[in-house]
Amino acid sequence: MGSEMMGLINLQDSQTLPELNEHRPLATVPMGGKFRLIDFTLSNMVNAGIGNVGILLSSQSRSVLDHIRSGKEWGLARKRDGLFYLPADVEDIIHPVEGDIHSFYKNLLFVKRGHSPYILATSCDLVQNIDYEEVLHFHRRHNADVTMIYTRAPKDKEKEGYVLEINDKDRITGINSKAEIQTGDNLYQRQILIDTEIYQHCVRRAYAKGYKDFITDVLKRNVDRLRIFGYNYEGYVKRVDSIQSYFETNMDFLDAHTWRDIFLQDQRHIYTKIKDEAPAKYMEESHVTNSLVANGCIIEGKVENSILFRKVRVGKNAVIRNSIIMQHSVVGADANLDYVVCDKNAVIQPEAELSGTREAPLCIGKCSVI
């Protein structure tokens, strides 16, 4: 079954979280108790029937390859099409080239061989469960060349982003880079659907002219010449680009509605690497409220407003509040944690007292012993 869309996920242009990214790119930052950030984008694509996905790898790709492997868990290990890793050239790693045009150009062959009339090009840092087929219908209904997905900004943000000017027929008339986003702005969500022919043509031309960035140098410049439309996505979406937004997005899952909207859509599951852990085990003394708990956990202590990844152990009388504890970490007996983000395989010694704040959660590094 061929889909009319192919996917292109760019791992090269995302922000990093220095607090957590020491050993991995943003794409494989653990999210929501058992997932990695890229699982959301990858799952949304395959749930829309996309069977051909290219991943533009960044220089740190070991954890991406280890996590996705053949793409089997997403149904992408196929004889035809399937998953394609598109690594960066060594010279581009040594002397990084600004913008995305350069790597789009270098990987035009992937797009050409895909034979799909449309390309869905996205970043990897969005947490959402979006129906891309609906975006395709929108794209066709408007006879668009390009569809940019946006949301109405719910609140003022200090962060920069692209704000779209859109007329009453959904047509985009202006693309503006703004340093501060205000409530109600049409905030571009870093995903476009584009006709493959137009994509190839634009990338070639832009590369020849020495342009760097697809949004500013191609779409913004040609906002009058190309038929660019804006698709207003009204569901839940969060972009992870800082330790604060990372923490907030995880905590959002503690709302039962958000948890259901993202993870328990009838036909649209979020897939991840399978680990075959046993169901979580709660001991006699455990006391857990308002938390997300993955398989393989063994809990003897108290857990409140927190997220426990796979195979976390919580010792007797330990108290964990408002924290994210990643896979294989051990929290010793009588330890006390509040606003802590604990990376993989960390060991918190018995009776340790650790606390951060909502704005600046205390981050414990991978494999550290505290």
Binding site: G32, G33, K34, F35, E73, F253, L254, A256, W259, I262, F263, L264, H269, I270, Y271, T272, I274, D276, E277, A278, P279, A280, K281, Y282, M283, E284, E285, S286, H287, V288, T289, N290, S291, L292, V293, A294, N295, G296, I298, I307, L308, F309, K311
Partner: protein
């Protein structure tokens, strides 16, 4: 890839009639267990970890769901180019379809498959036991003793020995006598229904057994006694560990409760012997602001907004706020509504326990509700819950 030279044949046609509504529309090996597993997962995972390359699964009774679940065996890492997983329903030939007449007949009817694979050893397994066992050790034992047949055995308490097929063996573990459910057992070495045969011996005896019209075509009752009579080299392999044949509602309930012990007799989280299962791609489970969980096993995708204790909760179960579940097993997709109470029960898949309903048997036995069942508050007051 190197082949193991040992073909596994799993008998998965068991009807499990003593399990009542739970096996009404599926075979016993497909029965759900331990929050995320089906019973056959244990045997399939054992095959994978023991290095078995080819697995034949013989289905018969209500096979559809089991066939769908097992698929090509990829969930158990048993899909590969040199062997793989084969579901074997009753075979149709020129004389029509023959329903399997017994365990031995099931293998007999698939002898052409056994030939086609051509492995020197054939491991016969049952798909409805809960245990972790390394069959490669049993195969080593078989080779070391130059046995023609090795029977997997386990020591059972003497007072229970009369419920089993009992082996009497010499110091070398060579079997000298076989007693089927003896009143006066001479040994407490019980057969687990697991056999390793040299293929030529298996074929010879199955062909002879098929011709015998007085035979019940059962390994324990007919084939093994015939071999013993002919002084074939039969050995008993002593297995040590947890092994459970969940034949009844009570034993199914108890086996689930066994998992809640601080040090459970069967370790589901052994990193070197993981129990694989068909994947459900569920998110971590959610414990609500007023939820409370004590002594329980909870699978992914469940939402616990009420109280749970001493229970096993499968994926995708919802326990609403104010509901109370104790000493129970709740299977996937079931909703226990606000204010409902469930105690000492096994609730099947996709059931609804409505607000105000109480599921509990006054006589202390285990209450059971089959798939898609419903219990309302009105039914409770009439006392038939």
């Amino acid at each position: 890839m190197r082949k193991s030279n040992c073909l596994a044949m799993i008998l998965a046609g068991g009807k499990g009639s003593r399990l009542g509504v739970l096996t009404k529309d599926q075979a016993k090996p497909g029965l759900l267990f331990g929050g995320k597993y089906r019973i056959i997962d244990f045997t399939l995972s054992n095959c994978r970890h023991s290095g078995i390359g080819t697995v034949g699964i013989l289905t018969q009774y209500q096979p559809l769901e089991l066939n769908w679940y097992v698929g090509n065996g990829s969930s158990w890492d048993l899909d590969n180019d040199t062997g793989g997983t084969f579901v074997l329903p009753p075979y149709t030939n020129g004389n029509g379809t023959n329903w399997y007449r017994g365990t031995a007949d099931a293998i007999y009817q698939n002898l052409n498959f056994v030939d086609m694979i051509g492995d020197d050893y054939v491991l016969i397994l049952s798909g409805d036991h809960i245990y972790s066992m390394d069959y490669s050790k049993m195969l080593d034992f078989h080779k070391k003793h130059q046995a023609k047949v090795t029977i997997g055995t386990i020591r059972v308490p003497w007072d229970e020995a009369s419920r089993f097929g009992i082996m009497v063996a010499d110091d070398n573990m060579r079997i000298t006598k076989f007693q089927e459910k003896p009143k006066q057992p001479e040994s407490n070495l019980a057969s687990m229904g697991i056999y390793i045969f040299d293929r030529p011996v298996l074929e010879r005896y199955l062909r002879a057994d098929a011709k015998d019209e007085t035979s019940e075509h059962d390994f324990g009752k007919n084939v093994i006694p015939a071999m013993l009579k002919d002084q074939i080299a039969l050995y008993a392999y002593p297995f040590e560990g947890y092994w459970k044949d969940v034949g009844t509602i009570d034993s199914l309930w108890q086996a689930n409760m066994d998992l809640l012990a601080d040090e459970p007799p069967l370790d589901l989280s052994d990193p070197d012997w993981r129990i694989y299962a068909g994947n459900q791609s569920m998110p971590p489970h959610f414990i609500g602001p007023k939820g409370s969980v004590k002594s329980a096993l909870i699978a992914e995708g469940a939402a616990i907004l009420g109280q749970v204790s001493d229970s096993v909760i499968f994926y995708n179960v919802t326990i609403e706020e104010g509901a109370r579940v104790t000493n129970s097993v709740i299977m996937p997709g079931t909703v226990v509504e606000a204010g409902a109470v469930v105690d000492k029960a096994i609730i099947g898949e996709d059931c609804t326990i409505h607000s105000g309903a109480v599921v509990h048997k006054k006589d202390g036995s285990v209450a059971v509700l089959g798939r898609h069942g419903e219990v309302t508050a009105a039914a409770t007051s009439k006392g038939d819950a």
